[in-house]
Symmetry: C2
Subunit: 128 residues, 2 copies
Amino acid sequence: MSEKPVWELIGSGFVQHYYNLFDSDRTKLLDLYADFSCLTWEGEGFPGREAIMKKLISLPFKSIKHSITAQDHQPTPDSCVVSMVMGQLKADDDHVMGFHQVFLLKQVGNNWICVNDMFRLALHNFGA
Amino acid sequence: MSEKPVWELIGSGFVQHYYNLFDSDRTKLLDLYADFSCLTWEGEGFPGREAIMKKLISLPFKSIKHSITAQDHQPTPDSCVVSMVMGQLKADDDHVMGFHQVFLLKQVGNNWICVNDMFRLALHNFGA
């Protein structure tokens, strides 16, 4: 039996599932969002599942592989789970890039849905 | 008049206030947390305002300066605001380091309180 708290299992399970789908067939990410979900991608907002999926599917690479460097999870006062991910990604033949992403997960029926999603490349976070 | 949405003003206002206090006198951060707040600092959890403040005050530097590279904010389904910050910090005479931090903000009475806080240095997020 795991001794990890349930919110950590929910968060880490979601994160693993999310990037597995993203790297194999990101059209399947549809089921992880709701109509009231919101994505901010590199500072640009995409409200609602339809806009989110349109953005994710339009990203200009054929293959991508995410590797997670660190992830943190917390329960929120409203029975959600907030997750912060640091990682690296490699898209097609580009250089490896750092990224970070935040998910707010909420239980809807029997499923944990991503209601808030924020993504940024870590490219610009260096130097003095 | 600003045309920015209110949740963005709440998030960006909190972020500015938080780092101003952190850099000038971090004992004053007390008022930004509640007893049910939770901090994860470099992967280690600190539940509750008292534990959070004990950790923040014990950090081993005399002076610190945060610079924000990018910040994103979203409203959540439970009327909170989630904020993701990328930035750089310089502690005493150390090299500049990248960091990222996530805040979940909730209105308690007339104040916006940080109920969830996650912080990580970006040191380990590079290379192939």
